[in-house]
């Protein structure tokens, strides 16, 4: 499937200046005498973008070269041609619809359960303190000073517990994972059992017998709160601290172009490790560019198309499996023997491409540097003096953009990045650079090297829906040699993990006075 949609937003924003550039270039090619007209970059015209709305990064299939001639060559202009969607957009929309329905139920369910448990835990000590007053007020001993001091301690500990539980459990979730988080479930069960046992003891020994010793009851409630704080401490260790110490080194490879990174992770379950890796992916891996893979695909296609196998012996002679086996063997043998010159083509093609990219880059750098000289930042005093032709950053960006637009567009097309940057985003970036006093080199940096996926606009993040494919259960922990896949729409990330080895270190003491040296020369001189 060839989704190499060569798009750039300029096709519909074909401003007059760009048109005049192209026209100037054409005329220069045809009539070499008219060289002066082509240098129309200096006279800048500002174009307002046309009012027709485009669907974000909608892609148009077709060649850019026919930009100026489109009025003459297209026979019909239908309403859909400007609102066409690419394959990527369709997939993205369906994915967005899918994931919004299913997981929400589960999230709300877990949230509700957690809130109920929290309320139960929070209200239990209060209930322990209040129930004696309600039920057998007359028999109760009065609360002395020590007892009232314990009230304060209960209050503050409950407050700390409340804050701590909120901080650990009730923050907005970063991601939705396929299975429940085992440690949280275990902790919830532990807390439930714990509170249940306390209630059991309380109801049997205190409620039934109607104990008058109120101080003892208060101390019992305090001990409950203390134990809950300790359980919270255990929760911190299990949930947060345990995975901090690096234990495994995981190697993440992107399946389409082989980009590899290594990360250090602690002891995590496979799903949490996958989550950590995806977060690193968005920050570290350069953006996935399917346009760069077409060359190797075409080479592979040529290999396959080169040989055909005919079955001369007639049908029904051999068993099907044996036939296929011998066929493939024959193909491999023939391919090995064939004198293939595709490596030659590859070498020259790559050299040619490299040269072209460098030439375009040189033109681009010069155009941008020249464009930046047209603008000067106005100082405060001058602002008061000449309020004439003053522009804010956005207008200034629009003013100098046309002079570098063509060079930039050609460079992006040569490096096959044109679908990553829309004209709007380029102008925004230019305004940003102008505002922050950046040099032309700083402005160009984001176009010369492909950056991490987060750097581009949101619709380039393509998949926020990832599928974890693993042979082991996803709630089991990472082990040495674990392999799993993180699949998204266009590519998958292959992850392998290796355990960091156990290190046995011994010490050796060196006396500082023992550093003595002697020359080890063995010269022999003839005299």
């Amino acid at each position: 499937m060839d989704t190499e949609s060569t798009y750039s937003g300029y096709s519909h924003y074909s401003g007059r200046s760009r048109g005049s550039h192209r026209h100037g270039e054409r005329s220069r090619d045809r009539h070499k005498s008219r060289s002066k007209d082509s240098r129309s970059e200096k006279s800048v015209t500002i174009n307002t973008p046309p009012a027709e709305p485009l669907l974000g990064d909608s892609a148009v299939r077709g060649e850019q070269v026919q930009d100026d001639n489109w009025g003459e060559t297209t026979t019909a202009v239908t309403g859909t041609s400007e609102h066409s969607l690419s394959q990527e957009d369709i997939v993205r929309i369906t994915k967005d619809l899918e994931d919004s329905v299913g997981l929400d139920c589960r999230r709300y369910l877990t949230r509700t359960l957690a809130v109920i448990l929290g309320l139960l835990v929070f209200l239990t000590p209060l209930a322990f303190l209040v129930l004696p007053h309600l039920l057998w007020q007359e028999k109760l001993q009065s609360c002395g000073t020590a007892c009232e001091g314990l009230f304060i301690s209960v209050a503050f500990k409950l407050l700390i517990l409340l804050l701590a539980v909120w901080a650990l459990f009730f923050r907005p979730a970063r991601a939705g994972l396929p299975r429940v988080f085992v440690f949280r479930v275990l902790l919830a069960v532990l807390v439930l059992l714990f509170v249940a046992s306390y209630w059991l003891f309380y109801s049997v020994r205190i409620l039934d017998s109607q104990d008058e010793n109120y101080q003892g009851i208060v101390q019992y409630a305090v001990s409950l709160v203390d134990a809950l704080l300790f359980i919270h401490y255990l929760a911190i260790v299990l949930l947060e601290l345990r995975q901090l110490q690096p234990c495994f080194s995981v190697c993440v490879t992107r399946s389409t172009d082989g980009e590899t990174r290594q990360y250090n992770l602690g002891q995590l379950s496979i799903q949490r490790a996958a989550l950590a890796i995806i977060e690193h992916y968005y920050c570290d891996f350069p953006i996935h560019n399917p346009a760069l893979l077409s060359a190797s695909k075409s080479r592979a296609a040529k290999h396959l198309a080169g040989l055909k196998v005919y079955n001369v012996d007639g049908p029904g002679n051999n068993a099907a499996a044996g036939l296929a086996h011998s066929q493939s063997r024959a193909m491999i043998a023939a391919a090995a023997r064939r004198r293939d010159t595709s490596h030659n083509e590859l070498y020259y093609e790559e050299a040619e491409h490299e040269r072209r990219v460098r030439k375009r880059k040189a033109r681009l750098v010069v155009a941008v540097e020249e464009a930046f000289t047209h603008i000067k930042r106005m100082q405060e005093e001058e602002q008061k003096k000449a309020p004439g032709d003053v522009m804010d950053p956005r207008e200034a960006a629009q003013a100098i953009f046309p002079s570098m637009a063509r060079a930039l567009q050609k460079y992006l097309r040569t490096t096959k990045q044109q679908h990553c940057h829309s004209m709007e985003s380029i102008q925004q970036h230019l305004a940003f650079c102008i505002t922050n006093n950046m040099t032309p080199k700083a402005f160009l940096e984001s176009y010369l090297t492909p950056g991490p996926t987060l750097q581009y606009s949101r619709n380039h993040w393509l998949a926020r829906q990832w599928t974890l494919i693993s042979e082991a259960s996803v709630t089991s922990g990472l082990k040495d040699g674990t392999v799993f896949l993180l699949k998204c729409v266009d590519f998958s990330l292959v992850v392998t993990s290796k355990k960091i080895p156990y290190i046995q270190m011994s010490e050796e003491y060196i006396d500082p006075k023992s550093h003595k040296f002697v020359l080890r020369l063995q010269s022999e001189t003839s005299v």
Binding site: V518, L519, R520, L521, Q522, S523, E524, T525, S526, V527
Partner: protein, 129 residues
């Protein structure tokens, strides 16, 4: 040939006089030296005591003046023209041997066979022929 630090060194020496030969504008003696107080004495194949940092003859060129004068490989040079060679660096020894204004060097060399010869002659058990 071993010495006790602080005590004077005694050795049986042979006096060898070598005439320098003029070859290609240089005055050569026709042997090579090794050793010196700045060298590693453990690597000396000719010394008995591996802490001996004296100057030893490591090679004699065949037909050269040194061989003609009777210098042998493994000899330890004790003096050159009166200059002491038992406590010098390798470079100092080379300089003392290759002075351009001297035509002849008078060496005092010692070797194990000399000691043995003297001991044998002094030993009264062996009857003299």
């Amino acid at each position: 040939m071993s010495f006790i630090p602080g005590q004077p060194v005694t050795a049986v020496v042979e006096r060898i006089e070598i005439q320098k030969l003029r070859q290609d504008g240089n005055l050569i003696l026709g042997f090579s030296i090794g050793g010196g107080i700045d060298q590693d004495p453990g690597q000396n194949p000719f010394s008995e005591d591996k802490t001996d940092k004296g100057i030893y003859v490591t090679r004699t060129s065949p037909g050269g003046p040194a061989e003609a004068a009777g210098l042998k490989v493994g000899d330890k040079i004790m003096q050159v023209n009166g200059w002491d060679m038992t406590m010098v660096t390798h470079d100092q020894a080379r300089k003392k041997l290759t002075k351009k204004n001297e035509d002849v060097v008078r060496l005092l060399v010692t070797r194990k066979s000399l000691e043995d010869a003297v001991k044998k002659s002094m030993n009264p058990c062996y009857p003299r022929p």
